[in-house]
């Protein structure tokens, strides 16, 4: 009686252990797929404004739950809501983009054409050549601020984008009732 | 002129305050009639209800550090207390009314977040609480005692009844539904039990034992019709509730008249009229769409009839309303209006250039 119990339990244990071993080998997950998915959502400009080493680092931090969904300034509110939905967390949007969208602007009279800014630009939004005044493509600028940091004459600055008739819309109604 | 405001730049002349005032106006005839019917104790009870509701609401708002005046001025707390008072026995002691009102306003409404946030009808929640906690006080009915009748109470006596719980010697009587239920448990059939107790005309005018407001079925009906005419409430929920009670009553009365009371008795008794026109039409706790309101009303009616017929309590309106309140979010979820250009499921209508 005891023998049969010992045998059957040992057999049971061996088979299950084998199954687990096989599962570990064949169903192994390479890294966390969530990280790759999150990285797909991020701007991919590796601007580093979030404080993590590039977008992969940020995705890792998001997946680990170490960073808020609102970490990415270039992504703005839109990205924050998408990330929050992806991670199933609540995003506190109140702090995001309070100052509104910005773009880099060059003060032409003090630009010395040193080319540092366009070398630093992660999205090729600045065009120029040595000894020539540089130009910013507003559509491509993600306001990461890298150019601002390297400019030796402080001629490139992030400026808020002025609203136009096309981009203007009503504010959220104030007051705490609906 | 410089504050930017979104359209529309015109507004219908309505406000929540006006809505509440209109409902109170619709309740006034039935209330005054019950004052006449039951004399000063009824007035005392009604006043205690309203005053304690106002005080409780002011206190709670103060504790929440919210503006007291606007929330009190909307009149919703007063209306709740009024409806509760109408559902109480007229000679009930003052603390029943006070406790009920405080419960209705504080637990029933403010704890949920104030006006518009509560899940259950505050007045009915309070009534059920009282019914479960103080079954004796809340089911001690007296026959009507209009001025001039031998049982009529003077002001002084009324104060004694309301505030010092003077025993109601020999005055206690059962409400009609209670009477039928008690007789039935003694093995006496409905028809026999009703003999000499139920005259539809009396029921219509309310000259028999019952709570403050449930006795004047006709005046409540008139008030309800007035509200429908003023478009404060819609017809769906009240009509459905009356049908929900009347149809099963009719069917079962036909099958076994001695066991089941007829529709007329059901319609004109208890809090049905009050419930149908003033309780289940409470916007906060009822569904949004006409169809949803009909289903809600039908459910309230059916449950009322079931509780009255097979339940332990003779009256079931309050329980039925609370049960259906719990279903309101579900009804709202499943019964949405069809959106223009879409079918009921929400997919866009097909492109159809011809025909």
């Amino acid at each position: 009686m005891i023998l049969s119990a010992i045998i059957s339990l040992s057999l049971f244990g061996t088979v299950l252990g084998l199954l687990l071993g096989l599962a570990a080998r064949y169903f192994r997950v390479e890294g966390n797929p969530l990280i790759a998915e999150i990285e797909q959502l991020l701007p991919g400009s590796q601007c580093g404004q979030c404080g993590y080493p590039g977008c992969t680092g940020a995705a890792q931090a998001l997946a680990d739950g170490n960073a808020p969904a609102t970490l990415c300034p270039p992504g703005g509110r839109a990205l924050a809501t998408v990330l929050a939905a992806k991670l199933g967390i609540e995003a506190d949007l109140s702090g995001v983009e309070d100052s509104g969208p910005k773009v880099a602007e060059i003060k032409e009279e003090i630009c010395i054409g040193c080319t540092r800014c366009f070398k630093a630009c992660p999205t090729d939004a600045i065009m120029g050549a040595a000894q020539q005044i540089h130009v910013v493509f507003r559509e491509a600028c993600i306001a990461c601020g890298k150019c601002e940091a390297v400019c030796p004459t402080e001629s490139i600055k992030l400026q808020p984008v002025p609203p136009t008739l096309q981009s203007w819309y009503w504010n959220k109604p104030q007051g705490n009732v609906t | 002129m410089n504050i930017l405001t979104h359209s529309p730049h015109a507004h219908a002349r309505v406000s929540i305050h006006k809505v509440m005032i209109t409902v109170m106006a619709a309740l006034a005839p039935a209330t005054l009639f019950s004052f006449w019917l039951y004399g000063w104790p009824a007035v005392n009870l009604w006043s205690v209800s309203l005053i304690s509701a106002i005080l409780a609401e002011a206190l709670v708002l103060r504790l929440q550090e919210r503006a007291v005046r606007p929330a009190l001025m909307d009149g919703s707390g007063i209306l709740t207390a009024w409806l509760l008072a109408l559902s109480l026995p007229p000679y009930a002691p003052w603390w029943i009314a006070a406790l009920g009102s405080v419960f209705a306003v504080v637990i029933g409404k403010q704890i949920f977040g104030g006006l518009g946030q509560n899940v259950f009808n505050p007045a009915m929640a309070a009534r059920v609480m009282l019914l479960i906690s103080f079954p004796l006080e809340i089911t001690t009915w007296v026959p009507p005692a209009p001025p001039g009748s031998p049982q009529a109470q003077g002001i002084l006596e009324s104060l004694r009844i309301t505030f010092f719980s003077q025993p109601l010697d020999g005055m206690a009587s059962a409400s009609l539904l209670g009477h039928v239920k008690t007789e039935f448990t003694r093995g006496i059939g409905v028809e026999q039990a009703l003999a000499g107790h139920f005259a539809p005309l009396d029921a219509l005018w309310g000259s028999r034992a019952g709570s403050l407001g449930e006795t004047a079925a006709l005046l409540l009906l008139v008030g309800g019709l007035f509200l429908i005419a003023r478009r404060i409430i819609t017809w769906q929920a009240p009509v459905a509730m009356l049908l929900g009670v009347a149809i099963p009553a009719l069917i079962f009365n036909h099958i076994d008249g001695n066991h089941y009371a007829g529709p007329l008795l059901h319609l004109l008794s208890g809090g049905l009229m009050l419930g149908a026109f003033f309780i289940i039409t409470d916007p906060v706790t009822s569904p949004n769409t006409p169809l949803g309101q009909f289903i809600f009303g039908l459910g309230c009616g059916l449950l009322t009839w079931i509780i009255r017929t097979w339940g332990a309590y003779p009256e079931g309106v309050a329980f039925a309303v609370l049960l259906m309140n719990a279903f309101t979010p579900l009804i709202d979820m499943y019964f949405k209006p069809r959106i223009y250009g879409r079918d009921r499921k929400g997919t866009a209508l097909p492109v159809n250039k011809g025909a």
Partner: protein, 503 residues
């Protein structure tokens, strides 16, 4: 659509705002004295702004093209009078934001001299394409307020085989009477315009829908359509009867599929004033340079209907109406239900300006909002069948996706819900905020996708350059080594040779 709705087509929901049309309905169309300076924004329509064709200092004639349509959805702008172009640049826009908008400033020379116009002897023999092309050239846009380029609608409708043409004479907005007056006074021209539009789209059935609160307009239109295929249909007065979706539903029983166009169900809708503009363009060759404007509201001294040149400053129209009789609480362009508040009165009348209202505080009837009591009055008022209270609650809780699920994108912003709300909750404001926020998110998402591609291209380029440089370096190194080896071998060989030579 249920069978019941098919048999008895009618407006769902809707509200009955106080009409207030009696203020200006009996006032015949007044001509507007010529303004000294006209402001002509390049964007007076839905679509891309027009591009300027003139320079500062240019002399232009009345009706001359000064800005051309740009792209597929656009409309040109013409000089409303003769004079001098004095400025090209920003001017405050007739929009609640009051943001500057690119504007041509025209200083009138007082001669009001027409450019040579191309008249047409028998317009009804024109090809549909020609009619549409002339409508496009005349800069005609939907004058009911939507300002969608009219020619585009004509082409779209012809291509998709529209059978029913609906002419909208509903004018359901309170106060506005300009469509009422144009139907009373210019019925013949309107009917000619309607027949041209019908010809342009090959419509087989033409219906003119007019609300029953305009009996004179109904009589005038019935007289003018007497021996034509065009029929006048009297509709009950209810807001928003004049909305495109609603007028189609009431007159034909059909519904535009969600996200679709009237052409999807074989219908084209144009406003009566647009029909008049079409007649002017085809018969007389006159572009759209003026429109009827109702000046009304409790604060206006003598409310009236004025035919104003496009570009006339709003203040001059108010002055024509005798100025203010009472303190103005709010200035509105358009009707009170869907019109836009303006802060300044130096903004110009543009193609879509149907009314200028100076409203008193009593007329607006605004008060602070209180909590929603879920009374569902808004649900009953919504002509689309939405749940405004639920949508607003979701938007307030920043759940825009939830509001979209509830049908936010089907909302026509008619304002019926806000109008009836007993708690005075600004429901439409919530919806338009949400629509704007969603559009902004969409724009930022598109930009993000584009910049992401740029960033990837850059990373790839940098990697390629690095790789190429590394390869080049490796090659150079290999070459150098080979050379060195060769040299060494040579040296060794030479050494060997010398060694052998020496030995």
């Amino acid at each position: 659509m249920t069978l019941l709705e098919k048999c008895f087509p009618k407006l769902r929901g809707g509200v009955h705002p106080e009409g207030r049309k009696e203020l200006s309905a009996e006032c015949p169309i007044r001509p507007m004295p010529l303004s000294r300076r006209l402001y002509l924004p390049l964007q007076q329509h839905i679509g891309a702004p027009a591009t300027t064709l003139v320079n500062i200092g240019d002399q232009v004639l009345k009706g001359q093209l000064i800005a051309a349509a740009q792209g597929n959805v656009s409309a040109p702008v013409h000089a409303p009078t003769s004079g001098l172009i004095t400025a090209l640049g920003d001017h405050v826009s007739p929009h609640p934001s009051g943001l500057p908008v690119a504007t041509i400033t025209l200083e009138s020379d007082g001669k009001d001299e027409w450019i040579a116009t191309e008249c047409c002897d028998d317009p009804f023999t024109l090809e549909p394409e020609v009619i549409a092309a002339r409508v496009a050239a005349a800069g005609i846009v939907g004058l009911g307020g939507a300002t969608f380029p009219a020619a585009l609608k004509l082409n779209l409708s012809r291509n998709s085989g529209v059978q029913i043409l609906i002419i909208n004479g509903g004018e359901c907005e309170p106060y506005l009477t300009c469509d009422d007056r144009i139907m009373r006074e210019r019925a013949t021209e309107i009917v000619a315009g309607i027949r041209l539009i019908a010809l342009a789209v090959a419509a087989t059935k033409v219906l003119i829908g007019i609300e029953d609160n305009k009996p004179e307009a109904i009589a005038a239109m019935q007289a003018a359509t007497h021996d034509t295929q065009v029929s006048v249909v009297v509709m009950p007065s209810m807001y928003p009867m004049g909305s495109e979706k609603q007028i189609i539903q009431v007159l034909t029983g059909r519904e535009i599929p969600a996200g679709g166009r009237p052409a999807d169900i074989g219908v084209l809708v144009h406003n009566v004033a647009t029909a008049f503009a079409v007649q002017q363009a085809i018969f007389l060759g006159r572009p759209l340079i003026s429109r009827l404007v109702t000046i009304s509201g409790g604060a206006i001294k003598t409310p009236c209907n004025v035919e104003a040149l496009i570009g006339t400053p709003v203040q001059e129209l108010i002055d024509l109406a005798g100025g203010y009789a009472e303190p103005v609480a709010r200035m509105v362009l358009g009707g009170p239900m869907m019109g836009q508040q303006i802060i300044r009165t130096d903004v110009p009348v543009i193609k879509g300006t149907s009314g200028i209202l100076a409203l008193t505080a009593a007329e607006i009837g605004q008060s602070d909002s209180s909590p929603c009591i879920r009374c569902s009055t808004c649900v009953r008022a919504c002509p689309i069948g939405l749940l405004p209270l639920e949508m607003a609650a979701h938007i307030r809780a920043t759940d825009l996706a939830g509001a979209v699920t509830l049908g936010l994108r089907d909302c026509i912003s008619c304002g019926s819900c806000s109008y009836v709300c007993p708690a005075h909750i600004p429901l439409v404001h919530f919806f338009n905020y949400a629509k704007g926020e969603l559009a902004a998110q969409e724009r930022s998402k598109l930009k993000q996708e584009a910049t992401k591609k740029l960033a990837e291209a850059r990373t790839e380029r940098i990697e390629r350059i690095e790789r190429e440089r590394a390869e080049a370096m490796a090659k150079r190194k290999a070459a150098r080594e080979a050379k060195a080896r060769a040299a060494q071998e040579e040296a060794e060989k030479a050494a060997e040779q010398t060694a052998t030579e020496t030995t």
